[in-house]
């Protein structure tokens, strides 16, 4: 069992349990782990917009550099943008400084493997073991890593999403979307993405602010009163809300009804399995049975995994099944297998299917 890594990385209250000493040590353990298989690992590091992002990024970078990893700072990015970059680009690993939807006093560290998935439990255990035993392999002065910056991670990600959807079809619809980024890091990507999809956007809390002044960062109904009200007030087609690191999106339909994530997933799965005429779907055991209902209707198989996006992604890789993009080479995890953790992927799919959402919900 891992002591530090929880379901989605290491989390804690800043400068209490989540402090620079921990980050520095984890950086060293991480680098030591990577160096077992790669001579000169390249690690991309990005953060959400929390106030302690720079502090922790500096600390963990120092640890990675001291083991001889090159660190590429990609700045403020949605978690999926970093995952996508790690998968598509020549990075051996990725680090996201984020506490996802937790309150602002929290921060954390998420690990990304070279294929873009979140670290498996095995990797997290290995890193923790190195950390607790302090068996670091440190570079001497001439072997320490270099620090580079890469400013294009967000654009690269937006282009990646656009290349996976029918842009013209979405543009034709001229959707009006109320977007609530909750002052999280989605602000740097989602408005641009939706604009490129020809959507009219009404923004709510789309200014970066690590204190989350708009509302708590978790996109649950009690935090989204303003969004729900705005959707009906302006007569939008859709409302969308993201969590602090924009790896989750939640939707409000045109009547102001909050759609639970499971239903959004089921909605997308329904249409994709229909289009693909079946296939295999992978989802955690906590997913509503509405998911099973809609996909089995389309002759698709369902595999249930333990809870946590790493398990879903790993299972998908292990089964070597293509989930929704059968027959295509680009099967990037965040867009395909882990829809519920891919904030912008959700938005785009709603662009495609949003008009028919009510049908799906009636299924259940």
């Amino acid at each position: 069992m891992t002591k530090l890594f929880g379901t989605n990385g290491i989390r804690g209250v800043v400068n209490e349990d989540m402090n620079c000493e921990l980050a520095l040590g984890i950086g060293k353990a991480w680098g030591t782990y990577l160096k077992k298989t790669v001579i000169r690992p390249k690690v991309a590091i990005g953060t959400d917009a929390r106030l302690s992002n720079h502090m922790l990024k500096n600390a963990i970078s120092a640890g990675l550099l001291s083991t001889g990893c090159d660190v590429i700072d990609v700045g403020l990015v949605p978690t999926p943008a970093l995952q996508y970059a790690v998968k598509e680009k020549d990075f051996d690993s990725g680090v996201v400084i984020t506490a996802s939807h937790n309150p602002p006093q929290f921060n954390g560290i998420k690990g990304v493997a070279s294929d873009g998935t979140e670290f498996s439990k095995d990797v997290e255990e290995d890193i923790e073991k190195i950390y607790f035993e302090k068996k670091y392999s440190l570079a001497e002065w001439k072997g320490v890593g270099k620090l580079l910056t890469w400013d294009n991670a967000v654009d690269f990600y937006i282009d990646g999403v656009l290349s996976n959807v029918d842009v013209d079809l979405i543009k034709e619809q001229q959707y009006h979307i109320v977007l609530d980024c909750g002052n999280g890091v989605g602000c740097v990507a989602t408005p641009i993405l939706l604009e490129k999809l020809g959507c009219k956007i009404t923004e709510l809390y789309c200014e970066l602010d690590g204190t989350f002044p708009g509302h708590n960062s978790e996109p649950v109904p009690e935090n989204l009163g303003d969004l729900i009200q705005k959707v009906t007030e302006v007569g939008a087609d859709l409302g969308a809300a993201q969590d602090g690191d924009a790896d989750r999106a939640i939707f409000i339909d045109e009547n102001g009804t909050y759609i639970w994530g499971d239903k959004t997933l089921a909605l997308a799965a329904k249409y994709i399995t229909k289009e693909k005429k079946g296939g295999t779907t992978i989802t955690p055991v906590t997913t509503s049975s509405c998911f099973d209902d809609v996909v089995t209707e389309n002759d698709a198989e369902v595999i249930h995994t333990m809870v946590g996006s790493p398990f879903v992604a790993r299972t998908m890789i292990e089964k070597k099944r293509r989930f929704w993009r059968r027959g295509k080479r680009r099967t990037h995890i965040s867009g395909d297998a882990v829809l519920s953790r891919f904030g912008n992927g959700n938005c785009k799919n709603n662009g495609n299917y949003g008009k028919r959402k009510q049908d799906v919900i009636r299924v259940n």
């Binding site: 209250v13 800043v14 402090n19 520095l24 500096n58 970078s61 204190t211």
Partner: protein, 462 residues
């Protein structure tokens, strides 16, 4: 976090040690916490500029240092990989409360360290540095809550630094200068700035080479043979070599002669300062030629203890036009107080632009006196007492005594300075005289005196 930190890394002017031996990212994280605490609770400031030299180990060290400062709630402007002058300039321009530069100056590449300056360009005196040392060793600092964590902003100082010099220097002549950066940090500043102000340049080791494989980063005469050849071969008006971080420069005249810091300082004072007034600051090791050459022009010359932090502080207090440290730190406060070595060659170029003579001719007008530097072994536990006793005895014997840093005796035809080393079990004796004969006599006389006192102490301790 429990760490074994040697207090010896904290030196009189800076922090220095061998990477992953005396200093490490963990230790720099703690020094960052201590520096943040110093800014917050001692000088009651809010922000700090941080940069680092080109050494490879500077990267993990600077980022852990920044993490530490940030944890105390102090905001950081990070200037990145720069020459000393670029970071100092940015911190000064942005009126930061403190400026920290990660470097081991001229030491070999396996070393690293950190220097601290205030935002006005004055180096932290030893007393203040020791406060940061004590905070570090005693874990005397607090990490703030999440909402108060310091912000980190990256700012590239290169353009504003270059533009500053462009606004200050204009040349009518086409002057040709050979630049020797030794592959070190001034590769990031000097070639760019010299081009921008319109100097013709010949590059010697101007490609970044963080392991200093082309020449050692100490610009001693024996390390500058390539530069000297380049000056002569290319008929340059002069040449300049920088140390590892760029706080010291050495000027080579058009004949290939390497000038001492004193000679360079005298030329700056004689030809480079429009108004011949004010107090020029020199340390106790400087040649008597400085006083002889500059006082008749209308300047006052004030002696200060050895160390560039005294230089910047005294220059500020005295509103000096020039400061000369015999080790090679030269300051021209008409630009700024900190000892950015880049101003020296630029000022030399300005002097040549306004003067018909060559630098070799100007240098030849300055008398040079023979000097001698001797080292006398003396145990650490008595070396300071020996010098104290010498002060007492020499004060009885001679009239012109300066005891601010060791003891200096000024005589009609020369002078002698006796100081104990801060770091090694030795006492240093420096002599300068009108001629070799007197030099020999003075050296013997004062060496004998010193050894006599050492013997007395040895006898007493038995």
């Amino acid at each position: 976090m429990k760490l074994d930190i040697s207090k010896h890394i904290f030196r009189a002017y800076d922090i220095r040690g061998l990477y992953e031996k005396d200093i490490s990212p963990e230790i720099f994280y703690k020094i960052g916490l201590a520096a943040g605490n110093y800014v917050k609770n001692v000088i009651h400031g809010k922000q700090i500029a941080v940069g680092n030299d080109i050494r490879q180990s500077s990267i993990p060290l600077v980022h852990s240092f920044i993490a530490g400062v940030s944890a105390t709630g102090i905001d950081i402007v990070y200037t990145g990989n720069t020459a000393f002058g670029q970071t100092l300039f940015k911190g000064w321009e942005l009126k930061q409360d403190l400026i920290a530069f990660v470097t081991a100056s001229h030491l070999p590449p396996e070393w690293n360290g950190i220097k601290f300056y205030y935002g006005d360009g004055v180096g932290l005196p030893e007393k203040e540095l020791m406060k940061i040392r004590d905070f570090t060793l005693n874990n005397d600092f607090d990490a703030v809550g999440w909402e108060k964590v310091g912000d980190v902003k990256s700012v590239d100082p290169k353009t504003s630094y270059k533009n500053f010099f462009k606004s200050k220097f204009k040349f009518n002549k086409k002057l040709k200068v050979a630049i020797d950066c030794g592959g070190a940090s001034t590769t990031l500043s000097a070639p760019d700035v010299f081009d921008a102000v319109g100097l013709d340049t010949v590059h010697v080791f101007c490609e970044p080479d963080p392991s200093f494989s082309k020449r050692p980063s100490e610009p001693k005469p024996e390390n500058l043979t390539v530069l000297v050849d380049a000056v002569k071969k290319n008929n340059c008006d002069f040449g300049v070599a920088f140390d590892g971080d760029g706080d010291r420069s050495v000027i080579v005249d058009n004949t290939g002669k390497i000038l001492s810091a004193d000679e360079t300082g005298i030329i700056l004072g004689k030809y480079g300062l429009a108004e011949k007034k004010g107090t020029i600051i020199v340390n106790v090791e400087c040649s008597k030629a400085v006083k002889e050459q500059l006082e008749p022009l209308g300047f006052k010359v004030k002696q200060i203890p050895v160390g560039h932090t005294f230089l910047t502080l005294e220059a500020k207090l005295e509103k000096s036009p020039l400061g000369i440290e015999s080790s090679g730190h030269l300051i021209l406060p008409e630009y700024f107080l900190f000892d950015d070595a880049l101003v020296v060659p630029l000022k030399i170029a300005e002097i040549l632009d306004n003067n018909e003579k060559t630098l070799g001719e100007l240098a030849a007008e300055i008398p040079t006196y023979p000097t001698k530097k001797e080292v006398i072994d003396c145990d650490d536990h008595i070396k300071f007492d020996v010098v104290e006793r010498l002060k007492v005895e020499l004060t009885k014997e001679f009239e012109n005594i300066n005891a601010m840093d060791g003891v200096r005796v000024d005589l009609k035809n020369g002078w002698v300075l006796i100081r104990s080393s801060n770091t090694s079990p030795i006492i240093r004796l420096t002599t300068e005289a009108d001629n070799e004969k007197i030099l020999g006599q003075l050296t013997t006389q004062f060496m004998d005196k010193t050894e006599e006192i050492i013997e007395k102490f040895k006898g007493e301790s038995k």
